[in-house]
Symmetry: C2
Subunit: 110 residues, 2 copies
DNA sequence: ACCATCGTCAACCATTTGGTTGAATATGGC
DNA sequence: GCCATATTCAACCAAATGGTTGACGATGGT
């Protein structure tokens, strides 16, 4: 039972996957094009993209024979909300964070 | 060669470690007290705390025979800066993020 | 119809991860 | 000095991770 947050942070822990996200931030890309700059097999990149997709950090849509990858900020938003409670940078979204923290501490509460 | 960012995200990927951080957010704690609510050996918690320490998410200071654990937001700040570039929540610290992204894309540039 | 291209699947491998247990090492109290 | 408490160490284990290779299914171009 791995939560969305587990998957998001685990996905972000790998430098290859962060680099992929950085590339996709500039533009949507096909799998082959994502793989091109890396010194790694296409299959390996395909696995990384699957991990990013399951973590909801990207979405993939097949059009014709090419599969387009694009950033999906939904899980990142969740993770960022979780983090911002610790940082004391800017007190943004603190209400959402507190609800989230409360749920993490007491998962059985309503 | 694992970067600080790798370690921070990897540390955050584990729900036990996130729960520990949430506990430490309320107050500094000794290792034994951190371990108490978990259904897990003390040695396991000790390992988790080592991981959090190496990731610079907490600091540990031994006073007498008890080792006190406290939140250290430094690595979280770095990770949060990295993330905020993707989320488009609030445009905070975007300059820092762009420098960071640039370095991740082109590590050899000055 | 054929062939090249796009991407995944399956099997395998080495390493890391998250946990266990039991012994070992401080340190503090009496 | 002795005992309890606090924490880590070491050896081990199962499962997950990140990579490889080669075969395979789909799709598009000619």
């Amino acid at each position: 039972m791995s939560t969305q947050l587990d998957m998001a942070f685990a996905a972000l822990a790998d430098p290859t996957r962060r680099a992929i996200l950085a590339m996709l931030l500039e533009d949507d890309m096909a799998v082959t094009d994502v793989a091109e700059p890396f010194d790694m097999s296409l299959a390996a990149i395909s696995k990384h993209l699957t991990i990013l997709t399951k973590a909801k950090l990207i979405t993939q849509e097949k059009r014709g024979r090419v599969k387009w990858c694009k950033i999906d900020p939904s899980a990142l938003r969740e993770a960022s909300v979780w983090m911002q409670g610790f940082g004391q940078f800017e007190p943004v979204n603190l209400d959402a964070f507190e609800r989230f923290l409360e749920q993490e501490l007491h998962p059985d509460a309503p």
